[in-house]
């Protein structure tokens, strides 16, 4: 097993484990912190694919900014174990069943997909994730989606300001 493979398995197990912990943690703060671990693991995967820029942006945006805002809100709401609403056991049961079925279908569909079985990802090669190439693609081929996303943020900001301004 090469170093990249070891890293891949380590990061994947870490990401899955933390994602499960996000769901099962009783305390919302712990969930958020586990989610930060998930983002780190995902960033590690980006690094393995030689997409350093994406890895770093993932950390800046998600772990550094969005999750901090999450923490803010949840800490101020002072949620803890006692305020966690208890769910119906049948709801949990049906949730597990339907989620498991979805997972089952997904796994079996993936296993039967001829296009991707047996192919490995390009580890440490491919240059599309480097900032220079990404910038070029973003400003030529994907210029329109890039601009649309700026309009999207502007309008989201207008909406947030209106909602936030009501006393």
């Amino acid at each position: 097993m090469s170093t990249s493979e070891i890293l891949f398995w380590f990061l994947s197990v870490l990401a899955l484990f933390s994602a499960i912990m996000v769901l099962v943690s009783k305390n919302p703060i712990h969930s958020v912190l586990w989610l930060i671990v998930v983002f780190f693991a995902i960033s590690g995967h980006y690094l393995l694919l030689n997409a350093q820029f994406l890895a770093i942006v993932n950390i800046i945006v998600y772990a550094g900014a969005i999750m901090v805002l999450f923490l803010f809100v949840i800490m101020l709401m002072n949620l803890n174990k006692e305020t966690e609403p208890s769910r119906n056991i049948w709801m949990k049961f049906s949730g597990v069943i339907s989620g498991g079925l979805l997972l089952w279908i997904f796994v079996s569909a993936t296993r039967s997909a001829g296009e991707i079985v047996g192919k490995t990802a390009m580890i440490k090669e491919g240059s599309i994730g480097l900032i220079e190439n990404l910038g070029k693609v973003l400003f030529t081929q994907y210029a329109l989606p890039f601009e649309i996303s700026s309009v999207l943020f502007l309008s989201a900001m207008v909406g947030a300001v209106v909602i936030g301004k009501k006393q």
Binding site: L33, F53, I59, I60, A63, A65, F72, M75, L76, I131
Partner: protein, 358 residues
């Protein structure tokens, strides 16, 4: 001639000739870890002592002067005291997070050291997006602070952590934009490239007024990001006891304390690398003789000299400016610094396109 580069090269070639590459790599890792921890310890001791001496000088008093030569062993004694003290955990605290928080803050500080070039060819990891890496990792320290504030189960701690979070998240923007303006000039995010581009002059001189503006914004923003006075609302003693680390004692408190100083060191070294040429000696145009003399001073001395100059500047702020109120703090960022730095970035881009720099 003596240089850090020579030492590392010698160690590297010896290791590789003695062991096989994997083991050599592992030993190098171990050496780096030991060096970083050593650097942290030394920095803590030196900077705390420096702060006390600088503040004493500002206030026309002597400062520590009993332990060791002119009080130089005072911080050593303080550290010993902190190590021996009992670390208390409050009753209603979230024990795991409470214990984890100081280490998170510390590890984040350690991670940022990775891409910093301390001297000519003396760098742990020359990642090709070094500047972004530093910005990204430094934004994580807020998570440790929020953890500490929340898990203490104390309203002062929580308030301090909230203030700190708001402050770090907002000042990150203008710090990032100031950094970007230098990136625009060099065309590279790699820290070694940025240093090399300042061979014939530092950016603060080559980049005219916009570079000076971004330097000023950068210094203000990083002062706020490290929660230093006049932006130390997170631990405003008169309002919040000690902010997010009110409940910490003993070694855990020492870690927070140390992390603050290490963070100052890191942001100042980033400032030195971006604006003051990192380890590049001071050169003036065609003065061959002068430049040659300057080259004789080792690069590590240049680097640490610049960094300590900036650290002195930040300490100077602490003892001269009164603390801001939280609304003033946020107004300063969102209404003044951010628009100015955005405009400055545009100006810098124009300069870079037109080639209006030396």
């Amino acid at each position: 001639m003596f240089s850090l580069e020579g030492i590392t090269d010698a160690i590297y070639s010896w290791l590789n000739s003695t062991f096989n590459p994997t083991i050599a790599l592992l030993i190098e890792f171990a050496i780096v870890v030991v060096c970083v921890i050593g650097l942290f310890a030394v920095l803590g001791l030196v900077l705390v002592f420096m702060e006390r001496k600088v503040s004493a000088y500002m206030q026309i008093r002597l400062g520590p002067n009993r332990v060791g030569f002119k009080g130089s062993m005072q911080t050593m004694a303080d550290t010993l005291k902190l190590v021996l003290k009992e670390g208390l955990v409050p009753d209603g605290a979230d024990k795991f997070l409470f214990n984890l928080a100081p280490f998170v803050v510390m590890i984040v500080a350690m991670l940022i050291l990775a891409p910093i070039p301390f001297a000519r060819n003396f760098q742990m990891w020359d990642i090709n997006i070094g500047v972004l890496y530093v910005t990204a990792v430094s934004s994580l320290s807020v998570i440790g602070i929020l953890m500490a504030g929340w898990s203490s189960n104390n309203k002062y701690s929580l308030l301090g952590a909230m203030r700190s979070g708001a402050q770090i998240v907002s000042y990150e923007l203008s710090a990032g934009l100031a950094v970007l303006s230098i990136v625009v000039l060099t065309g590279s995010l790699q820290l070694s490239d940025i240093v090399n581009s300042q061979q014939d002059g530092w950016w603060i001189f080559k980049g005219h007024i916009p570079a000076i503006i971004s330097f000023v914004i950068f210094i203000i923003a990083v002062t706020a990001e490290t929660n230093r006075a006049p932006f130390d609302l997170a631990e405003a003693e008169s309002e919040l006891t000690a902010g997010f680390h009110t409940e910490y004692s003993g070694m855990r408190f020492a870690l927070f304390f140390l992390a603050e100083y290490v963070n100052i060191f890191i942001v100042c070294s980033i400032g030195a690398i971006l604006f003051l040429g990192g380890w590049m000696p001071f050169h003036i145009g065609n003065w061959e003789a002068f430049n040659h003399v300057m080259d004789f001073i080792p690069s590590s001395v240049w680097f640490f000299g610049k960094v300590f100059f900036l650290i002195f500047l930040i300490m100077w702020f602490r003892w001269t400016f009164p603390r801001l109120r939280i609304d003033q703090l946020l107004n300063l960022e969102w209404k003044y610094l951010l628009p100015i730095s955005m405009f400055n970035l545009l100006l810098m881009t124009l300069m870079a396109i037109m080639g209006w720099y030396f």
